[in-house]
């Protein structure tokens, strides 16, 4: 087992029951990063984050510093934090929001200072009722503490931070859809180009959108230096990262691990981590980075948990959620449920996604329930090819956003890895696992 002694960067405080309060936050080094940042120039703060080469923790893995670098050329008006965590089986942001809201707020304030933004928004998923309460309470405390508002900590810098509740729509995790939603509209992703809201974002103004976990890393980076962060991990994947482990494992949960230094095997089997497969069953397949990612089989379990490493193997680390499926799992049912999710959550703007997801779901449903035909397998792949030509990874795109091209992942993985199991469903007229 290759677990390392890397420091806990974003989960250090979670051992305390009152980790969400200002009192505990201040007692454990809270807001020191912000104090330090305010003595530096905004450019120097941005430079530290760039040095850390912190990759965005939302799913796309775009370097946060590079996103900010656009500020050199074009000033940013708004900073918006994406806390709309909805990728199935991803529950890391949920943990940070409920258990350490001040850390996120401090990260936002430091980032706002670096970007010289005076208005920031934290968009939280509406279903996080407790998380919203905790975040608002923390924000109230931060205002009273002088960390946010006018002339913060007597620095002359003023910043207003607004907590905005979502109302239940997966697509609002897509940054342009999030901005539409924040403007009080349906969460329709915007047509690209422009590819980044840095050009035209909220209310048509240049906007930076960063993920909650990304923000939670910022205070540590400023306190300890970008170089210390970059020294952790390997290659492009620096620092530590939260991995949300779910499915058929003994100890599902969120684990903070140094990037690249650990493998999927460590995460799933280490007694201090996943603790192995439930019931001593065999590993059948696992999803390495949210349900948008193509699946891996047991032969890929020794891959390191790194962005490029997983990418080169034909999938993605995505949102950092790993779903373990053991030998009792029906892959047709799993693929059907994931496809049903995409069908429900398609915003409906683009035909391949809106219609395709529904068709795919109905075909998978009939296979699972005994009304499938052998030619359905080719039909599924043909439909997938219509949504994302070539059905390869990284996927080709026929739609405004990447929700569409994510639909084929589970279906193509299921058919390519377990074609026989699909055929058994057809031949036996039903699910062999029932």
């Amino acid at each position: 087992m290759a677990r390392t002694e890397a420091p806990k960067i974003v989960t250090a405080r979670l051992g305390y029951d009152d980790s969400h309060t200002l009192e505990r936050y201040l007692a454990t080094g809270g807001y020191e990063g912000l104090h330090k940042a305010l003595t530096m120039t905004p450019e120097a703060v941005a430079h530290e984050v760039d040095t850390a080469s912190l990759l965005g923790r939302g799913g796309a893995g775009f370097p946060a510093g590079r996103k900010w670098a656009l500020l050199g050329k074009k000033p940013v008006t708004y900073l918006t934090i994406n806390g709309d965590e909805s990728e199935p089986a991803t529950f890391k942001d949920h943990l940070l929001i409920e258990r350490d809201p001040h850390q996120i707020i401090e990260g936002v304030l430091i980032s706002a200072y670096a970007l010289q933004v005076t208005q920031a928004f934290i968009y939280l998923r509406g279903e996080f009722a407790l998380g919203l309460e905790r975040m608002q309470a923390a924000l109230n405390e931060a205002y009273a503490h002088g960390a946010v508002g006018a002339d913060i900590f007597g620095s002359g810098f003023s910043i207003d931070l607004v907590l905005h509740p979502g109302a239940g729509a997966y697509i609002c995790g897509e940054e342009t859809a999030l901005l539409e939603s924040l403007e009080g509209k349906r969460g329709f992703p915007r047509i690209k180009p422009p590819f980044f809201p840095a050009s035209i974002g909220l209310y048509g103004q240049p906007t930076v959108v960063n993920n909650v976990e990304t923000m939670a890393n910022i205070p540590w980076i400023i306190t300890n230096g970008g170089a210390a962060f970059a020294a952790l991990g390997e290659g492009r994947s620096t620092g530590t990262r939260l991995f949300a482990l779910a499915g058929h494992v003994q100890n599902p949960g969120v684990y903070e691990l140094e990037m690249v230094k650990n493998t999927f095997r460590d995460l799933i089997y280490d007694p201090a981590l996943g603790g192995g497969i439930t019931g001593g069953n065999k590993l059948k397949a696992f999803i390495p980075g949210g349900v948008s990612a193509p699946w891996f089989g047991p032969d890929q379990v020794d891959l390191p948990l790194g962005q490029d490493e997983v990418g080169q193997a034909g999938s993605m680390l995505g949102s950092g959620s790993i779903v373990v499926m053991d030998s009792t799992t029906c892959v047709v049912r799993a693929a059907w449920r994931i496809t049903k999710f995409f069908s429900r959550e398609s915003c409906g703007q683009c035909t391949p996604c809106r219609e395709g997801a529904g068709w795919l779901e109905r075909i998978l449903y009939r296979i699972e329930n005994g009304a499938g035909r052998e030619e359905d397998l080719d039909l599924l792949m043909d439909l997938c090819d219509n949504i994302s030509p070539g059905v390869a990874w990284p996927p080709q795109q026929t739609t405004i956003c990447v929700l569409g091209p994510s639909i084929p992942s589970s279906i193509a993985s299921g058919i390519r890895m377990f074609r026989d199991e699909f055929l058994v469903h057809v031949k036996e007229g039903g699910c062999p696992f029932d």
């Binding site: 809270g30 020191e32 104090h35 120039t41 905004p42 450019e43 000033p75 008006t77 909805s86 199935p88 089986a89 529950f91 942001d93 010289q116 933004v117 005076t118 998923r125 509406g126 009722a129 407790l130 919203l132 608002q136 309470a137 924000l139 109230n140 205002y143 009273a144 508002g149 900590f153 007597g154 620095s155 002359g156 003023s158 207003d160 931070l161 607004v162 907590l163 905005h164 509740p165 979502g166 109302a167 239940g168 729509a169 939603s181 009080g184 509209k185 969460g187 209310y203 103004q205 482990l245 779910a246 499915g247 599902p252 969120v254 349900v291 779903v323 799993a334 449920r337 994931i338 999710f341």
Partner: protein
């Protein structure tokens, strides 16, 4: 006559004032209306429309996009059972079937006494406790058939009133403190800051250019030790005016 209570109306106006453009308050205001009624009554949608400056049809058209906003009545308790992948692997379809028979309604339905609405939901981001259930969007932990029936009984008896409040979000915590956003002020302030930033960048570039010239000069005059001392091995530390932070440094660490 306002449909929202006086208190909620005052809260709604505060929320509108938070945003550079009033329409941004549309969804938060829908949550407020649901806090009062459980769902979005047509009167509430008209009032929200007036408060944020759009038509009632636009409020409805926006609300129908979002799973949490209801345009039809719901029960006092909305019970959401997640059946997405992690919960599916944890037996969520079986739990949902049990819930349907316990409550006597299909997913999407409301019990005749108006107490419960059952929903089959997408991932609720609590995947280490499966199958995941929320009541009025409060997590109640992973459920089995037995604990689920107990949960229903506790909800009926009011035993969970403290952990499961009414509909709406941010029911128990309100925003205090903060500045009201004025879009024009933000854009103006932003422009001023951009100007200051450009000045700092220009100063930095000029200083770097000067330093480069000096080090070139130093290379030429390498035979003269006095000049080398003046220029120093690290010209930036001496001859370059470090760009000033825009505000004065803070008083001290926490």
């Amino acid at each position: 006559m306002s449909h929202l209570s006086a208190d909620l109306l005052a809260q709604a106006k505060d929320v509108v004032a938070l945003y550079p453009e009033p329409r941004s308050a549309l969804i938060p205001l829908c949550h407020l209306a649901q806090q009062q009624d459980g769902w979005l009554r047509p009167e509430a949608m008209s009032e929200i429309a007036e408060l944020v400056g759009v038509t009632a049809a636009e409020v409805r058209g926006t609300a129908t996009f979002y799973d949490m906003l209801h345009i039809e009545p719901v029960g006092s308790y909305v019970v959401s059972v997640c059946t997405n992948i992690a919960c599916l692997l944890g037996g969520a379809l079986e739990l949902l079937e049990h819930a349907e028979s316990s409550l006597g309604v299909r997913a999407g339905g409301t019990t005749v006494d108006g107490v419960f609405t059952l929903e089959e939901s997408e991932c609720l981001a609590d995947c280490d406790r499966t199958p995941c259930v929320q009541v009025n969007h409060r997590y109640v932990g992973g459920q089995t058939a037995d604990t689920f029936d107990q949960l229903l009984a506790d909800l009926r008896s009011g035993a969970l009133a403290a952990t499961v409040p009414s509909h709406g979000t941010l029911v128990r915590v309100r925003r205090s403190g903060g500045l009201a956003a004025d879009k024009q002020a933000i854009v103006t302030e932003r422009a001023a800051m951009a100007e200051a930033q450009a000045k700092r960048s220009a100063a930095l570039a000029a200083a770097q250019a000067k330093a480069a010239k000096e080090s070139a000069a130093e290379a030429e005059k390498v035979a003269d030790p006095d000049v080398a001392t003046v220029a120093g091995p690290s010209p930036s530390s001496k001859s370059v005016p470090a760009p000033e932070p825009p505000g004065k440094p803070s008083g001290g660490a926490a």
